[in-house]
Symmetry: C2
Subunit: 498 residues, 2 copies
């Protein structure tokens, strides 16, 4: 029985949230604990629950209830915003009929398997047929969802609401015109020595240090935990149970540190969402771009900056006296900020990273326009890497097959990574204005003022304001890449001394 | 859409199984990994899923489908048996209306909390009001379910089908008449020294040894895993994902060894159920008594016997040379079989254990008859412990408050522990006949013939035959406590040499 009130609406959404968060646990367990024979039935469990969620969300009685409540217009801002966002989601769900959803699920499952096979065999051609299906389905999805200017807009909008090709082209034009030449300028200088990061570092000691890092950030271990997995990720079952995973490489100290800080930033956002709005739009993260801003602001603006390492580096040296005892803070700081064009997006420095994203954006855009074909992708990819970064992959796993996203049918996802970093620079610039002596506080290990500011200005609102508006309310203007450009110029000019 | 065929019936049951196994994961995670703030929403997730299961199971279309298929009578034995068992479950579910289920769930939740509080305060009186509600509800449940002779029969039947007060009184009369005096006889002899089991044993080394034990038993780690938890348990999401937990006490080596072997036995049964019958009665364990027989047969008939320790003890000595280097196999064997009346059921030896169960059976029986009242329970409990075992608890957590079962509303559960042990002795006696030189094989660490026999005679059948019939098909007769009596007499006369 669905009660014909706002409470009834809330209860129905919470029921959906219980199923969604249960699915999240099934996925978390799959990555961290599940024995391998459990995979087949795990897939069926997930499929059963996801069908149930779809049924609950598209239940006609629920739609009628939402419309009924919206028509009453006796609610406050929060309630109205929730109802409107739910109505939009229902409309979106209705546009993707169950036949399409089923076909897409099958295609994704096939694509993931053939992507893995292609990686094992180092042959992109193995992946082509199922990637073609994915691209066709994404084109179909764009038509089903509808768009104004560009079919890619419909997909971009799924991950970052109101994001458009038009807007992102402006953003990435700046990447091309300013970041690409800046990287070339840096590369012309003497290179930084970071070899000491690649010595042997004990696994357990690394993991223990990563837990300390999370403690310093203010991550609440009563409402979360950290485990190991092949690919680090953050997953939440509610603001009171947010789990992180990290990765430890015994011959690369960087991996654990920045994957932990990155996921920690995601985790702090999820822990900061209002628990009493659990299940409602006002209790959910606003967009992937903002989510990524919260991870990047910790990973880069704080985690690769000098102040915090003034505090942390002596602690790290104590953990690894043999490896770091003779390495000065200045050497360490330069090493963790080394800029070097490379092949793999996920291990790129914070400057070249956006060139990786730009390449994917350009490719996806052209694919959606039909200007290039799936069969051309490997060639196009390699050309762009040569043109923009001056590197060419030796094998597909270092190039076109490196990312999982396309096998999941997630076209339109990549740009949120860059948008997140650009938001992060903008938010951090504002935080420096709002928090007196922020650098000194960080240098004393005091992160609480910063976290409190993010909680107050970003986390607590959930989806109450659209992403861009949320940033504008805090920083006085909507997305402006200038902050990122200023930040990287100042930083790298100092480090590379030119 | 439910298809009007046996396949449609199977699909519906599998959907229910996906939800049930997902709930099992939610519970497992709660015991092993969940951060403490996650508890509130976890309870809501479980409640949402359990309501959905109830709805699916009592869906009128499903009932009609089952009746329709049963009427067709064109199916083989397996299909008919599945349909009949499902019909019985539907009838049972219908008898417990949703109002009753809701009231019972609330009462259980309250009772669990007040049980915990009573334990903290060491006052049984704190638990009395909510235990009274539980008992009233159990009486109501018995009336709703119906019975022939005794209201307690209705409850016993929930855990061990067709189990009755009449049958169990016969069983426990033998416990009273034969085991109780036998314990007294043993106690009159010189006591065995087991003090070396209570030295310091390193936690990690204990856990590693427990994994070895599971390997020797034939437990499949590709279809399961073992973790730590406060109370050891086995939980399964399918035959391909069966998880165990164990407990390590650094000053009591016995805990990890026998809790691991015990749960390992449960786990082997679950791993041996036919995966292609997942969700159907033919893919599920037949009864709690049989389940317990599979854990006890490993824990006691194999795990506390000399042959296997001939193989294992040198390995254990290698792990703990300081503690066990000077302890002979004979000393060790005697120590792990020490019989001593004590207060706590879960740590009792395999002889006094059944007196603990008998006391609970007598109390539950009297409660259901209305012969004793909840307010009398502590006194009755203490008197019985004095009468039968000659011990009296100093505080309620060592007496009336030690078990969680009543707070869960599980009256009728305890007897399955004894029935399981008695089944185990009977099955083991038959295994000795069926497997030539079983003792020698175990002494060489070869457990495979034994596991294969259990797979063939018990595991593969799921619920296809009722428990007692399953045992009869294998051993030629239904439950007969004589096998247990013979086993313990032979064993303890040798150990205590009288």
């Amino acid at each position: 029985m669905m009660e014909n009130t706002y409470e009834g609406y809330k209860a129905h959404l919470q029921k959906i949230a219980h199923l969604n968060s249960t699915m999240a646990l099934l996925s978390w367990d799959q990555e961290t604990n599940m024995p391998k024979k459990g995979a087949a039935i795990r897939a069926q469990q997930l499929s059963t629950l996801s069908t149930m969620v779809h049924e609950l969300f598209t239940d006609l009685r629920f739609e009628n209830l939402v419309n009924h409540l919206l028509a009453k217009s006796c609610f406050g801002f929060k309630e109205m915003r929730n109802l409107q966002l739910t109505k939009e989601s229902i409309e979106e769900n209705k546009k993707l009929n169950s036949d399409f959803i089923k076909r897409a699920a099958i295609a994704r499952s096939e694509a993931f398997q053939s992507w893995e096979q292609a990686r094992r065999e180092e042959r992109f051609s193995v992946f082509i047929p199922s990637l073609q299906k994915i691209v066709d389905l994404e084109k179909e999805k764009a038509e089903l969802l509808g768009y104004n200017d560009h079919p890619y807009d419909a997909l971009l909008n799924l991950y970052e609401k109101d994001s458009t090709v038009h807007q992102l082209k402006q953003v990435f034009t700046q990447v091309k015109n300013h970041i690409v030449p800046f990287i070339q300028e840096i590369s012309a200088n003497e290179q930084v020595d970071d070899s000491f990061l690649y010595q042997y570092y004990n696994k357990d000691a690394q993991f223990d240090f990563s837990l300390e890092l999370l403690n310093f950030m203010g991550y609440d271990f009563d409402a979360g935990r950290q485990d190991l997995s092949t690919h680090p990720f953050t997953i939440n079952f509610s603001a009171h149970d947010v789990r992180l995973t990290t990765r430890v490489n015994e011959y690369n100290l960087s991996e654990v540190i920045w994957s932990t800080i990155h996921e920690g930033g995601h985790g702090l956002y999820e822990q900061g969402l209002p628990i009493n709005h659990y299940g409602l739009p006002s209790g959910e993260y606003v967009s992937l771009g903002i989510h990524e801003s919260q991870s990047r602001i910790w990973e880069n603006n704080i985690g690769r900056a000098l102040p915090w390492w003034k505090f942390l580096y002596p602690k790290l040296q104590k953990v690894f006296p043999e490896q770091l005892g003779d390495v000065s803070l200045d050497q360490f700081y330069k090493a963790i900020n080394k800029v070097q064009p490379s092949l793999i997006r996920t291990s790129a420095d914070e400057l070249t990273y956006h060139v990786h994203v730009m390449i994917r954006f350009e490719i996806e855009c052209s694919l959606m326009e039909g200007v290039i074909e799936v069969t051309d992708l490997e060639e196009v990819w390699n050309e762009k890497y040569q043109d923009y970064l001056g590197v060419t992959p030796d094998k597909p796993t270092e190039g076109i097959l490196q990312d999982i996203h396309w096998s999941h049918g997630s076209l339109g996802y990549f740009p949120t990574y860059s948008v997140g970093s650009f938001y992060a620079a903008q938010l951090y610039a504002q935080a420096e204005k709002d928090i007196p002596n922020l650098d000194e506080k960080l240098a004393q290990g005091k992160t609480n003022d910063f976290l409190t500011l993010m909680r107050k200005k970003i986390h607590q609102y959930g989806k109450l304001y659209p992403a861009d508006q949320l940033v504008e309310r805090f920083s006085g203007e909507s997305l402006n890449i200038k902050y990122f450009m200023d930040y990287v110029h100042e930083k790298y000019l100092k480090i590379y001394g030119f």
